[in-house]
């Protein structure tokens, strides 16, 4: 029997002789470029969900569909008048205002403060919540005075065959 497997190859008292940690954390030019390419990859990958979400919005997949609903006949609604209706559900009360010959606006008329019904004041040209005197701009639904801070949700309307229809609800961004 030989002793060839029973020799200590060289004098040592540890098992870490082959671990060389000198300059281990030094970032050389090549390593730095690798990091930059990796960062570009991270940016590319993180762009994908934004592109996907934007494509989804463009294709209209995220829009909720409601059956269109007749609100009023055109000749029963004089310019500057308003009519109350409910859309899209029977408890979602809303208001339609005829601003000019062709321009109609409609909003969900629960005040964004404490959900009192909002009224159209024809002579003052603005929408008023009687509970706490909140006022809303009739063109955009933005609050202009009083406690409410968020706009009224807008309802999309369409004039067709001498009647006004509610066709959809704009996505609400509080």
């Amino acid at each position: 029997m030989s002793d060839k497997n029973n020799k200590i190859p060289f004098n040592e008292d540890n098992y870490t002789h082959n671990i060389n940690r000198n300059n281990e954390r030094k970032l050389d030019r090549r390593g730095f470029m690798k990091t930059l390419v990796g960062a570009a990859g991270v940016f590319a990958v993180s762009s994908l969900p934004w592109g996907a979400l934007a494509a989804k919005e463009l294709s209209g997949l995220g829009d909720k569909k409601y059956p269109k609903q007749k609100i009023a006949k055109v000749d029963s609604l004089a310019i500057g008048d308003s009519v109350d209706f409910a859309f899209p559900g029977e408890h979602d009360s809303a208001i339609l205002i005829r601003l000019s010959e062709k321009k109609y606006v409609a909003y969900q008329n629960a005040c964004t403060h404490l959900r009192c019904p909002v009224f159209w004041k024809k002579d003052e040209g603005e929408m008023i919540c009687p509970c706490h005197h909140g006022k809303f701009d009739v063109n955009s639904g933005e609050p202009t005075a009083g406690p409410p801070r968020r706009p009224l949700p807008e309802i999309q309307v369409k004039e067709e065959n001498g009647a006004v229809y509610a066709v959809g609800v704009k996505r609400y961004e509080a």
Binding site: F32, L36, W50
Partner: protein, 63 residues
Amino acid sequence: MKRSYVPVTLLLVVLMLNIIFTQYMVHQYFYENYSNTIIAAVINVILFPIAFIIYKKGVKVND
């Protein structure tokens, strides 16, 4: 060994463009300009292979 820092500079430029287009993309998304969002996202994706090519060339020539 003479090193070229041109590819490093180019990669830094690419990274800067990445930052710019990412911020542009996010802002355009919230401004609801969705086609601009998609354009910025595509540019961001294209910048990655460009960065990779710059890296490959830069390593081969001067290291």
